[in-house]
């Protein structure tokens, strides 16, 4: 069995940064990602408005991707580390495990999205992923979200891609109107005409298998604001 100093789970900004520093310090590491190297920042790089706002992180990630050998595989257990991939199950021994598995958007139900569960309701995260892959998710988008810089960015991104966009704050119930697809949304006394609802009400850490390890990066801060993620990563690395 392969034994290393560190196993890093997740090769987004935080995971890659940690891997780089640890490698520089001479530690033996392995870094895994269930998708591809780059994580969420790779998604943002495919969206024009996001790519200018997140330029610094995108460039950094692009550089890191060149230097850091990421293994594609899903870590399903952390002690010992068990990884499922196209090559079957592999087992590794690690002195320490870093969880860099990132954040995920809070579910619509938790944000009081009520009514019929028709097509055309997305979390911001899902919507961004889909449009980054050149999928069209509708024509008239209502973004119902708490105040956050990411929301303005998303608004201008949708607008640039030819969507009609409206914005609403999150308050009270968000009632979806429609038979098979969103036909409108009622928030408080206001009714919006739209065919797509995108909701954002914050993020929470993504570690559904409850893997054990030291959480670093967006799995701790849970935000779209990568300066916070960066700070968290720096803090962690300064102690190593």
């Amino acid at each position: 069995m392969v034994a290393v100093d560190y196993v890093v789970i997740g090769a987004g900004y935080a995971g890659l940064k940690c891997a780089e520093t640890l490698m520089d310090k001479g530690f033996k590491i392995l870094i895994f990602d269930m998708r591809e190297s780059g994580g969420e920042i790779s998604v943002f790089s495919k969206l024009s408005d996001f790519s200018s706002k997140y330029e610094k992180y995108i460039e950094e990630v692009e550089e890191l991707k060149k230097d850091i050998p990421v293994d594609i595989g899903t870590v399903i257990k952390s002690k010992p580390v068990i990884v499922n991939s196209g090559n079957g199950l592999k087992r590794f021994e690690a002195k320490r495990v870093l969880l860099c598995t990132g954040a995920t958007d809070v579910a619509p139900a938790k944000l009081n999205v009520l009514g019929k569960r028709v097509a055309g309701i997305y979390t911001l995260e899902t919507a961004l992923r889909l449009i980054s892959e050149n999928n069209r998710i509708g024509n008239e988008v209502l973004i119902a979200a708490k105040e956050d810089k990411i929301v303005e960015l998303a608004e201008s991104q949708f607008y640039r891609l030819g969507y009609e966009v409206e914005l609403s704050e999150l308050y009270g119930d968000i009632s979806v109107i429609g038979k098979d697809r969103v036909e409108g949304v009622k928030i408080g006394e206001e009714t919006y005409n739209c065919d797509t609802l995108v909701v954002y009400g914050g993020r929470s850490s993504f570690n559904p298998l409850k893997l054990r390890g030291t959480p670093v990066g967006n799995v701790v801060t849970c935000t779209y604001d990568y300066s916070k993620v960066e700070e968290n990563v720096k803090n962690f690395l300064s102690k190593i």
Binding site: L89, A107, A109, K110, L114, N135, R181
Partner: protein, 453 residues
């Protein structure tokens, strides 16, 4: 010419199809939605009921029979089924006094145990101290309803039944010895027709001139992702039982999530699966009373519409060789395997020749999360897509998603059959992108509900 045409691929239609596929027959199933089980079946609570009152009703009998054969069915078809047990608790003096009487009554029909307060609180530590005792029905269980329906569909399909999806039966005309079904896919002729059309069974019955009245009754649920909060199906013994509903419960899903519901709300539209604030607060009040605290992590609200035709199931043959399997309200999921056997007997009695096939093919859908390490190694070696996990919450691989997606370009079908994306939204985009690549088009549940344009 088909021997049997089935209208509707809910749990009822699919189990009948499964049963018929064991015989040398030509069978076809029409379903107006993009996949099976996406209507009433998807909206139900997933409980395999221990009993249904009154015991002497048709639904009461078929419920007991269905429950009794569920292990056998789950084994044959390869779907998960867990007997988690139903805990009926007394929360006041009157219902406590009633416990011995209730126990004596129920034990004539089902296995039931009296349990004391202390034991209940040990089994369910989150229950409030005011429970005074209760009855445990160990035979009650849970399934994932769409997964169960899919398993029956798959068995039927592997054994030669033809399925037409996105295919609505619009009219039926009678010929001397057969029926012609006009569908959105053209015309089909069959000797026997089975009306398993759920809330639309009245429309289908009308096509052959039979009047049936179906009233839609909505039931809503709240799903919490706090696994282990409670472990049984729990309900308080009511002071006055409601004639129309068992009253729902603090339930669990097959993977241990908490489900509170359903309620019963009369609705005008058969398509009304909206969940309102009032209903959510109602459910929280009703079941919140039983517990010390609310479960954490609301992840979904959902509703289903019951097809209610009076107090009982309507399984009859109003005209020769046309059988209604209608009004299949609760406990239709539980009863489905028993209903299927009953319908086959009715067909035989009306002259359909039944010759058992020598061999039937069993099909087991491969799920990574159910496999041992060695088994995972083996399946990944045959198909590396099993090595690529798409949904981390429920450990669903790319291979599983593609297997369903190749059959159905429906997000809901993929989600409910594989359980990918059931617990959070993280992988939804991945699933859709994958399906988009595989099917070119992704709908939510039916044509007209495009997810991505």
């Amino acid at each position: 010419m088909y021997d049997v045409a089935i209208v509707g691929a809910g749990v009822t239609g699919c189990f009948v199809a499964k049963e018929l596929s064991k015989y040398n027959l030509k069978v076809i199933v029409f379903e107006r939605k993009a996949a099976m089980g996406l209507e009433q079946t998807k909206g139900c609570s997933g409980v395999i009921h221990a009993f249904q009152l009154p015991f002497n009703s048709l639904k009461g009998k078929l419920c007991l029979e269905g429950n009794a054969i569920m292990d056998e069915e789950s084994e044959e078809l390869g779907f998960s089924f867990k007997r988690v047990g139903l805990l009926l608790v007394a929360t006041n003096r009157i219902t406590k006094i009633l416990l011995p009487v209730l126990k004596a009554y129920f034990s004539r029909y089902v296995e039931v145990k009296r349990i004391e307060k202390k034991e209940i609180l040990e089994m369910e530590p989150n229950l409030r101290e005011n429970v005074k005792g209760g009855l445990l029905f160990p035979s009650a269980g849970v399934v994932n309803p769409v997964e169960m329906t899919y398993a029956a569909y798959r068995f039927a399909k592997e054994n030669g039944v033809e399925f037409k999806f996105n295919s609505k039966v619009e009219d039926i005309s009678r010929k001397p010895n057969s029926f012609v079904l006009k569908t959105s896919d053209g015309e089909f002729e069959a000797k026997y027709v089975l009306n398993c059309a759920g809330v639309y069974a009245d429309d289908v019955a009308k096509m052959v001139g039979y009047e049936l009245k179906i009233t839609p009754g909505k039931g809503s649920h709240i799903v919490f992702n706090e696994k282990g909060f409670s472990n049984h199906l729990i309900a308080a013994i009511p002071l006055k039982p409601d004639k129309r509903t068992k009253g729902g419960g603090a339930l669990v899903s097959i993977d241990g999530k908490v489900i509170w519901g359903p309620n019963l709300v009369d609705v005008e539209s058969k398509e009304d699966t909206s969940v309102t604030r009032e209903e959510i607060e109602g459910l929280k009040r009703k079941f919140g009373r039983l517990f010390k605290k609310l479960p954490k992590d609301v992840i979904a609200y959902y509703a289903g519409v019951r097809s209610i035709a009076g107090n009982d199931f309507v399984i009859n043959q109003p005209i020769r060789n046309f059988i209604n399997v209608a009004g299949i309200q609760s406990p239709g999921l539980t009863a489905a395997p028993a209903i299927a056997r009953r319908v086959v007997r009715m067909l035989a009695a009306s002259g359909l020749e039944l010759k058992k096939k020598e061999n039937t093919i069993k099909y087991k859908f491969t799920r990574i999360r159910e496999l041992s390490k060695d088994e995972i190694e083996k399946v990944v070696e045959q198909n590396p897509d099993y090595g690529e996990i798409i949904c981390l919450c429920n450990l669903v691989s790319k291979a599983e998603i593609l297997e369903v997606a190749r059959d159905f370009p429906s997000f809901d079908a993929v989600k409910h059959i594989t359980r990918a994306g059931m617990d959070c939204n993280k992988c939804h985009a991945d699933i859709i992108v994958l399906m988009q690549r595989e099917c070119n088009k992704t709908v939510k549940d039916c044509t007209g509900s495009e997810l991505v344009w």
